[in-house]
Each structure stands twice: as structure tokens, then as C-alpha cells.
């Protein structure tokens, strides 16, 4: 070790030069006040900053993402993939609720569906409105009187056409 020390003595003397590198005069007079000013201005830390400090593993992940663009890209792609998968899954869930229609009707051909009247279709059929009477205290809360209401329902019908008469 002593030999190493002697070997590096010249280098250490040269490195001493760096101790003489000094910032502009008066720089340190204002340094602490600038720090305090920045703290007062609201850099006391966001929730994310605090979280990063409370959880060192999160800090390490964040640092890795900051320094490795490829890793950040892969993570971004993974998040996007998850999002798309989520959207697709939610769409499928909607389809499955439609599939709750009785099997005999879901399996019917488009021709049969087209021949079916709007009132017969299980999804489009209006609820049976109970007539108010002296023995039935329950009255419908509201009735769909709007002309546009039916149009809206008709739009939900699967498109299917049949030309009964033909050419």
C-alpha cells in the first residue's frame, strides 16, 4: 500500500488543484437563501416525492425508469397493453350480458329475428304497465311518452334485412 501511495503521490498533488476551484465570489452568501426561497415557494414536496422517499424500492424503480429509456418504453408498452386488454375485456363483458337472452331466441336465425316484431323481441319489449286500480297501489313512476324513446330502442336492433317479396 505504501508503494501505491508513493506511486500516486504525484497524482494526488495534481488532484489538489481541484480544491482551488471556487465558484464566483459571494456565491455561498446567497446559496442558503435561494434554497429556503425555493422551499417556501412550494417545493416542499409533492405526494409523489413523499411516496418515493417513504418507499425506497419505489425510488429505485423510478430511478431505473429515469435512466433507462428502453425499460421505460417497455413499461409504457406494458401499461398500454393492459389498458387495451381491459377495454377488450369490458367489451366482452357487455356482449355476455346480451347473451343472457334465452337460448332459443339467441340461436334463432337472422331471418327469424327480422320477422319478429319489435314488441316480441325480448330486449326491446316494453315492460308491462300495470293499470292503476284501487287494488293495485303501485303505479308506474313514469311512462315513456317520448317519440324518440322508441327510435332509440330500434337503433339497438341488430341490422338484418329480408326481402320477402323478392324481385
Amino acid at each position: 500500500m505504501n508503494q501505491d501511495t508513493e506511486n500516486f503521490e504525484q497524482l494526488r498533488r495534481l488532484l489538489a488543484l481541484k480544491r482551488h476551484e471556487q465558484p464566483p465570489p459571494g456565491y455561498f452568501k446567497h446559496f442558503s437563501s435561494q434554497v429556503i426561497l425555493r422551499i417556501e415557494r412550494g417545493e416542499r414536496g409533492t405526494l409523489i416525492d413523499r411516496l418515493l422517499w417513504e418507499a425506497p424500492w419505489l425510488q429505485r424503480i423510478w430511478a431505473a425508469l429515469e435512466t433507462k429509456p428502453i425499460l421505460a418504453g417497455v413499461c409504457g408498452a406494458a401499461v398500454c397493453g393492459l389498458l387495451v386488454t381491459g377495454v377488450i375485456c369490458s367489451d366482452r363483458a357487455d356482449v355476455s350480458t346480451v347473451a343472457l337472452v334465452p337460448a332459443t331466441e339467441t340461436e334463432s336465425t337472422p331471418m327469424a329475428l327480422a320477422n319478429m316484431s319489435v314488441a316480441d323481441h325480448p330486449l326491446l319489449a316494453k315492460p308491462v304497465l300495470l293499470e292503476p286500480s284501487s287494488t293495485n297501489p303501485i303505479t308506474p313512476a313514469q311512462t315513456d311518452e317520448s317519440l324518440l324513446g322508441d327510435i332509440g330502442k330500434l337503433r339497438a336492433q341488430p341490422a338484418s334485412f329480408s326481402f320477402l317479396g323478392g324481385n
Binding site: 495534481l14 489538489a16 471556487q22 465558484p23 416542499r44
Partner: protein, 216 residues
């Protein structure tokens, strides 16, 4: 405010150890009081803490980046980050070591991002540089570097430092420039002393090779 002189400065050191090792000094009693007050949001107390360590933190970041503007930003941000994280400071190490660690981590992350746009913006040498006995001895010796002026030497030295990897540059900065002990560097870098020693040896070898024209 009483500033206690670090005890390590009075102890004679082996040749390999630098003259000053401020981080190994016993923690002044009032430092913990300042930390407690700052933790409660007392900015005057934190201002005092910043004043105590601003020069050393700035110098470390500056020697790592070789750029005054970057060093200014990083040193300030390190102190701001330290203030934000004061609640997580358990007092296991000195506040100084803890702030140092924040500054070092911040600087290394910054350098990894900056990799391809390293641009030096060096601080001026102070007046004493021309009278430093080590430097006078170095320049007055009859070697090819005798015609090199201090400013040139400074630039070459910084360029050589920038060629080192961040961990190696950090060890040289902390030990040979800042004067910290191996133990303290190990604490700051979160590694063992053997690693510090081997990194220091390798870094010096590299520097010697880069600066062979200016060394015997």
C-alpha cells in the same frame, strides 16, 4: 452558533489518508436540535444546516459534474429534497452523511441522463492555487508539463476525471479532493471499505494513465 472543529483534523493521519475528514467528526449536539426544529418546519433552523454544509455539498457535486450551473442546481435540489425527506431521517448517521448520500445519488442519476452532453463549465482557480506548495512543486519539476499553465492543467485534469465512471470519479472526489476517509465514503456509497479501496486504486491508475504527460 458554535461550530465545533472536527476532531479528525487534529489526529495525525497515515500518508494515504487525506488531511481533512470532516464527515467522521462527532456530530455536534446542536445539529440534532436543528434537525428536529427543521422537521417541524422551522426554516431558520434548516437555513443554518444548509449554511454548514453548502460548500462541501456543492464542491462534491461540482467535482462530479465539472459544471458550475449543474452543480448549483443539483446542490440546491439536494438540500430541498433533504428538507422534504427530513421526516424519514432517523438519525442513524449524521445529518451531513445523510445529505451527502442524497446529493451523491441525485448527481449520479443526473450524470447517467447527461451522458452524451457532458460540457465543462469550470470554476476559476482561487488566488492561493499559485502558492500551493504541492502545485508549485509539481509545476517547477523538469517534466514536459513545466510549460503548462494552471488553467490548462485544470482543464486536462477535469477532462481526465470525466473519463472515469461515476463510482470511480466519486471515490476520487470524496477521498483525494474532499478528504473523506474510506469509512465515510463506504457509508455514503453504501458499500464496504474494500470496495472503496479497490475503486480508488483503479481510479487512480486510470487517471495516471490519462495524465501521463503531466506526471513523471
Amino acid at each position: 452558533m458554535v461550530m465545533t472543529e472536527p476532531a479528525s483534523r487534529k489526529v495525525s493521519k497515515p500518508p494515504d489518508e487525506p488531511a481533512a475528514a470532516p464527515a467522521t467528526a462527532p456530530v455536534p449536539v446542536e445539529e440534532m436540535d436543528l434537525v428536529k426544529r427543521a422537521r417541524r418546519g422551522d426554516l431558520a433552523a434548516y437555513d443554518e444546516l444548509v449554511r454548514r454544509y453548502q460548500e462541501r455539498i456543492y464542491a462534491t457535486v461540482y467535482h462530479m459534474t465539472a459544471n458550475h450551473e449543474d452543480a448549483n442546481d443539483l446542490a440546491q435540489e439536494s438540500f430541498i429534497k433533504a428538507f422534504q425527506a427530513l421526516r424519514s431521517f432517523k438519525g442513524g448517521s449524521s445529518f451531513y452523511t445523510w445529505v451527502y448520500r442524497i446529493a451523491v445519488n441525485k448527481t449520479i442519476n443526473f450524470l447517467k441522463q447527461r451522458k452524451n452532453r457532458a460540457q465543462m463549465s469550470l470554476d476559476d482557480l482561487d488566488f492561493n492555487a499559485e502558492h500551493d506548495p504541492d502545485l508549485v512543486a509539481l509545476i517547477s519539476e523538469k517534466t514536459p508539463r513545466r510549460e503548462v499553465n494552471l488553467a490548462e492543467l485544470q482543464e486536462k485534469l477535469n477532462a481526465a476525471m470525466q473519463k472515469l465512471s461515476e463510482p470511480h470519479r466519486l471515490v476520487v472526489t470524496l477521498h483525494d479532493v474532499q478528504g473523506l476517509s474510506h469509512e465515510e465514503i463506504a457509508k455514503i456509497m453504501d458499500c464496504n471499505i474494500g470496495t472503496v479501496r479497490s475503486r480508488l486504486f483503479y481510479a487512480r491508475q486510470q487517471l495516471q494513465a490519462y495524465l501521463s504527460d503531466y506526471l513523471k
